[in-house]
């Protein structure tokens, strides 16, 4: 019974496919998986938008949208109808084909990332040997779309937004990769299913998630920072800072194309949260050993929604950074700390079991955090700006 609930979607897929002739079964199974991804994640995106607006409202002691449907939960449908029926305006000086291809390329690249995410036991579309690499390759190719959108619009705000976005994404992608490398070093595999399986063990009732190790915690924090920057979410939402750049690289998009950008942005957030869950939070494994009776996909999506909630929470709390603060933070704090975390991970790998490695690794990371934080505060890398050219 428990197994049935756990594997319900896999069994459903097998059952549906079994009606087809043998030759068609394999492609049909893949097609069903694709349909599942294309249906489920945009549905979560729709839910996320309404949760975000309501959550931000509550954070600011407001009610949030509550007019459309019960408690306002039909709001995304109203939004969808609105953006689909709006006029698709293309600036007369815009570079037509590039302007058209940018949102398409973005959404396609973002959707591809979901192909390797294990959303449950046996529930991964393509169990690739180099799954992690594939994910990052797809993440990297979104940058081209962002640039295309900004450049082809022939609008200075778009172009500035695109340049900011690309600079920021390149800077933080380094951190994103390096913090994931720590996990790869411990697991010894780039396959996301293997990474989850390595974490799906229990000591007593506690799971072997990587976040519960010193290097894992540090890596997770760095990953979370980099993921926030990579998806252009607040407080790193400079590329679309509405007080400075109207809407950044998608200023000149309206109607359906804008909806695609919006979808791409949120799907990127979902997929990068999914990857963070897989790498550090044990993917689909249950948080305590006696909770394994719940289906594995339930745990994955719960963790996913939790990380989305943290994204929204941060957006409701933190003010936007400035460009120089953003870059200083990336190159002078996050990157060195991630490199140190890599070193500590290697130590952890070769020190063997025992209390000693816990003490040594925690001490190194804690000391580094405090010292780097102090230095950064004293030297005002993150503090008030010194106006070099103004005096």
């Amino acid at each position: 019974m428990i197994d049935k609930a756990d594997q319900i979607f896999v069994l459903l897929q097998h059952w549906l496919v079994s009606f087809l002739p043998l030759a068609l079964q394999q492609p049909a199974a893949v097609l069903l998986g694709v349909i599942g991804i294309v249906c489920v994640f945009p549905a979560i995106f729709a839910l996320t938008t309404v949760f975000e607006r309501k959550g931000l409202g509550r954070i600011q002691n407001r009610l949030g949208p509550n007019r459309v449907g019960p408690f306002g939960f039909m709001q995304p449908i109203a939004d969808a109808i609105k953006s689909l029926t709006k006029e698709d305006v293309v600036p007369s000086t815009a570079n037509g084909p590039v302007h058209f291809l940018a949102p398409v390329g973005l959404v396609v690249a973002v959707f591809m990332g979901f192909a390797v995410l294990p959303v449950g036991r046996n529930m991964v579309l393509v169990d690739m040997d180099a799954g992690l690499l594939f994910f990052f390759a797809m993440g990297a190719s979104t940058e081209v779309s962002v640039f295309m959108a900004g450049w082809s619009s022939r609008n200075k705000y778009s172009l500035l937004g695109a340049m900011r976005a690309v600079a920021q994404m390149i800077s933080y992608e380094v951190v994103l990769l390096l913090s994931s490398v720590a996990v790869v070093m411990i697991t010894g595999s780039l396959s996301l299913t293997k990474i989850v399986e390595a974490q799906n063990q229990y000591t007593g009732i506690f799971p072997h998630w990587y976040i519960f190790t010193p290097w894992g915690l540090a890596g997770f924090v760095m990953y979370a920072i980099a993921a926030t920057a990579e998806t252009n979410r607040s407080p790193f939402d400079l590329p679309e800072g509405e007080s400075e750049l109207v809407a950044g690289y998608h200023t000149e998009y309206s109607g359906f194309k804008f909806a695609l950008f919006f979808l791409g942005e949120y799907l990127a957030m979902l997929s990068i949260s999914g990857l963070g869950t897989t790498l550090f939070l044990g993917g689909w494994s249950a948080p305590l050993s006696f909770l394994t009776f719940m289906p594995s996909w339930f745990w994955f999506f719960s963790k996913l929604m939790m990380s989305i909630f943290v994204f929204i929470w941060m957006r409701g709390t933190l003010p936007r950074l400035r460009q120089d603060q953003l870059m200083n933070f990336a190159w002078k704090f996050v990157l060195p700390f991630t490199l140190l975390d890599l070193f500590v991970t290697a130590l952890w790998r070769f020190m063997g079991e025992g209390l000693l490695r816990w003490i040594v690794c925690s001490a190194i990371l804690l000391a580094a955090y405090i010292i780097m934080g102090r230095v950064a505060m004293v030297r005002k890398h993150f503090g008030p700006r010194s106006y070099r050219y103004a005096e």
Partner: protein, 213 residues
């Protein structure tokens, strides 16, 4: 330590988030069409015409002196004076407006018409739900739409309305006394002990039922 401020801020917003579900005081939102806050006493939107007694046409205080029309900075008041006269609240024969239109798409709610009116005939309304799908006709309010009873005026601006009523009553008393004196002297001078006619009932003291919303 680095990150301390971020955690503090996160705690604060978390408090807001959880608190907004628990305590009603945190949520200051008023869900407008269903819930309303009564407008402040001094609120003003567009002018309206005050009338006494039950009949709005007969009871209009306006005497079509056209001062407001001339003073109106954006020139949004249009008045046509009547040919005949009818008695006003003190019983004096006065003209009355056959047309009194205010174009509220032009009106800027400056209240100058109210300040210059010597007859307390035009006052500021608090009604703000005036949206219409007719851009021109729908926003040009005529006499009938503008006329609101004195009771309505009491309802929306109680303090101001009482002051106005007291002033009008005083004026009327003065006018009555003057009329009485004039009549008395006239009677004395004529040495005629003719019976005095009763003064007409004061319209300001009459309380007709029902008001127009």
């Amino acid at each position: 330590m680095l990150g301390e401020g971020i955690l503090k801020g996160m705690a604060e917003t978390a408090k807001n988030f959880a608190g907004s579900f628990v305590s009603k005081e945190r949520l200051t939102t008023v869900e407008y069409p269903e819930e309303r806050i009564a407008p402040a006493e001094n609120a003003r939107v567009f002018p309206f015409l005050v009338y006494d007694t039950e009949n709005w046409e007969a009871g209009l205080r306006c005497v079509a002196c056209q001062i407001c029309e001339k003073e109106c900075p954006p020139k949004c008041i249009y008045i046509d004076k009547s040919k005949d006269k009818k008695p006003d609240y003190v019983g004096k024969q006065q003209f009355y407006p056959t047309r009194f239109d205010i174009d509220i798409s032009v009106c800027m709610s400056c209240q100058i018409c109210v300040e210059v009116c010597p007859f307390e005939a035009i006052k500021m309304d608090t009604q703000f739900e005036l949206a219409t799908d007719d851009r021109f006709g729908g926003l040009l309010l005529d006499r009938e739409q503008l006329a609101k009873s004195n009771e309505y005026y009491h309802e929306i601006h109680p303090t101001e309305a009482s002051e106005v009523d007291a002033r009008l009553a005083e004026e009327k008393a003065k006018a009555d006394a003057k009329a009485k004196a004039a009549q008395a002297t006239a009677a004395k001078a004529a040495a005629d002990a003719a019976t005095k006619t009763a003064a007409p009932a004061s319209p300001t003291q009459a309380k007709p039922e029902g008001g127009q919303d």
